[in-house]
Symmetry: D2
Subunit: 229 residues, 4 copies
Amino acid sequence: MEAAGKPVVNLISKPENMLKTVYTACRTCYSADYPIDIYNSVDDKEKMLKLIERVISSGHYSTIEHIQVSFAISNVSRACTHQLVRHRHMSFSQKSQRYVKEKGQFDYVIPPTIARDSVLQEKFIGFMHRISEQYQEFTEAGIPAEDARYVLPNAAASSLVASLNLREMIHLANLRLCTRAQYEIRTMVKMMCAALLEEELWLKPYLVPKCERLGFCDEDKSCGRMPVK
Amino acid sequence: MEAAGKPVVNLISKPENMLKTVYTACRTCYSADYPIDIYNSVDDKEKMLKLIERVISSGHYSTIEHIQVSFAISNVSRACTHQLVRHRHMSFSQKSQRYVKEKGQFDYVIPPTIARDSVLQEKFIGFMHRISEQYQEFTEAGIPAEDARYVLPNAAASSLVASLNLREMIHLANLRLCTRAQYEIRTMVKMMCAALLEEELWLKPYLVPKCERLGFCDEDKSCGRMPVK
Amino acid sequence: MEAAGKPVVNLISKPENMLKTVYTACRTCYSADYPIDIYNSVDDKEKMLKLIERVISSGHYSTIEHIQVSFAISNVSRACTHQLVRHRHMSFSQKSQRYVKEKGQFDYVIPPTIARDSVLQEKFIGFMHRISEQYQEFTEAGIPAEDARYVLPNAAASSLVASLNLREMIHLANLRLCTRAQYEIRTMVKMMCAALLEEELWLKPYLVPKCERLGFCDEDKSCGRMPVK
Amino acid sequence: MEAAGKPVVNLISKPENMLKTVYTACRTCYSADYPIDIYNSVDDKEKMLKLIERVISSGHYSTIEHIQVSFAISNVSRACTHQLVRHRHMSFSQKSQRYVKEKGQFDYVIPPTIARDSVLQEKFIGFMHRISEQYQEFTEAGIPAEDARYVLPNAAASSLVASLNLREMIHLANLRLCTRAQYEIRTMVKMMCAALLEEELWLKPYLVPKCERLGFCDEDKSCGRMPVK
């Protein structure tokens, strides 16, 4: 497969009874009841949401760590995944360039600043072909994939399964939806948020750039969307 | 409520499709396919288990971090929870002694070495009543619960919601099922393992004391179950 | 040893060349130079501080993770340490109540709300003696220390070595200097900050309650010091 | 700067009194003494080492988390750093390809399987020049560095400051000194170990491949150095 539009992002796993678990966690801190009894006796979605929202607004994020979600992600560049795996509270299983040999033209991601200029885009695509040829020449000469890959570019597409709890999900959104984040990771995180919000809309107020939560921008160079501190 | 038998442990949350998610994570590392396609095309439980077991035996535990489970736990002493919360890869929401005032006799846990001697047990129970009286005396004198609790004992029962991924679950079992662990946390972790194995029996070979995985005991004082290194 | 005034807090370890290491980390991100050359060529304290302050104000805290400091802490209650060890980015080595048998009267911490009333304080001290007698009775009856300790109170004093990097140090200060934190952990964290500031005064603007950094209070019940969001 | 031999690795920061801090941490767990008194009264290096070695052999690694060390690393490929930053207990400050524009030929790392064949090496070097030209062409056309870098290869050299505590240092060595690890990260970790051992020789028995600690190999494909489990 070759060209490369947007990332492919799917939410593949989340716990059953997400709200009930978070509600039980919140109430356990302030209640004499057994958590299993809290869990078994609650069902009112409105009531659960009301408590959860109050607890999160007070900054008590530990209560939402109990929920972890998993995404299947493809068609993102290695430039993007090198940034993503810096999130140390996440879990990753990523396609290995050491063990998976590229058999034909490798997939790649074209940055929009290049894609929007047809001349530059043509050059970019041609150069990806040139790199592919060089890679194949090395593997055909007996160089193992793990070494031939040294010529593969940052643009080379990767796939991964990524899991994170809701606290880290909010943190990820706060950082990577910022206009100062690179467009590709920003796009990917937007799609992760959208996939999650499709099922858990109550998270909407939290999956925003950090400036919306802080009320000000703390970046050295601000985009102007919010007042500087 | 008063006396105190064994811990109360319930598995309240786990992801849907646990095996499919882990299988997808394992295969993503070694495959050119998109993880979402791996996820959508697999269904053979035997096949999934075979791969997962091979990957875990090779020590590649990161693939099982994608699965997080949550337990509702009650009737464990504060001595036990002070040990438990040292597991830094876990998430906790614990009943607060600052915010939850004990209204009558507080719950407590009696250590078996005391419970098995009726004279000592009677003394222990009597003393718990004595402590309760002292606590009540302080709160009635206007001392806030968060300070009156300074007289409450390690034996005082607590409740919590605890979540951890399967990698940490195996680590927890390896450490706390060791005969050198204190009886109470050992009992609690046994019950956590039992609750999980009821639904996911394939984890059985991993939820064992560390000596069974290592093939030897690395403790300074060995219980003799396995040869010292 | 018996009574119990304030915590005992000493900074026992910090890296050599703290500023040079942080400065090198900050500059490495934005420079074509080798970090070892940056490290070897910088000496101007003013220049280093200026860059570091700009980087931290922009929220790029990862650059100060390179500095870890260690504290020796004594005379804090087990109530306090149960809170402290919830900080999962810290490292702890704590006096074990399983392995260290109390030989005479155990040390303990008296909450100020009790200490300021001489009648209540006398009751409190008397009750600590009563608990000590009960503990001794159990150990003399052959009950191991790890089980006899179930009667020991939250007030029982503990000792620990605690280490944390500067990012977590700022987080700890932000949370625990808040007037909503319990007085004892607040006192202890104040002393940790003071010990560190004695040697690294430049950290002063960051070792403050979270409301000072946010510009507003996000607690459910505010102390009124700062406007609610 | 251009070509690329071995990584450049320097230990730039470690705490004062490393042994005293670890010894104090070990003893605090089993002693009624204040840790500050333990710290102030010990000086006998032999005695400290003897206790520390016993504690580490028993698997109580938390006691060595109190020591964190920092390395300045250069001349390692982005392939290598993408692996390195997966170590989530480490702290990193890495040269940014977004903010640092390559002005001439970028540095790069040549894999030994290619370097040892003069024809392939020549091709590799020529191709690096070709990539550099393409990168320059894009930046000259106004494409920002953060997007032009999509053509840069895995071979492109990077620099970083990396910090980790001794527990993670041992873990890193155990995993990355394994003959199954890729040659470049293996070389880099060997150099990190060597730099540390130059000052702290007592760590030698721990900075080894995992098979030496386990007594067996747990890899799916063993190199044969140790018996398979």
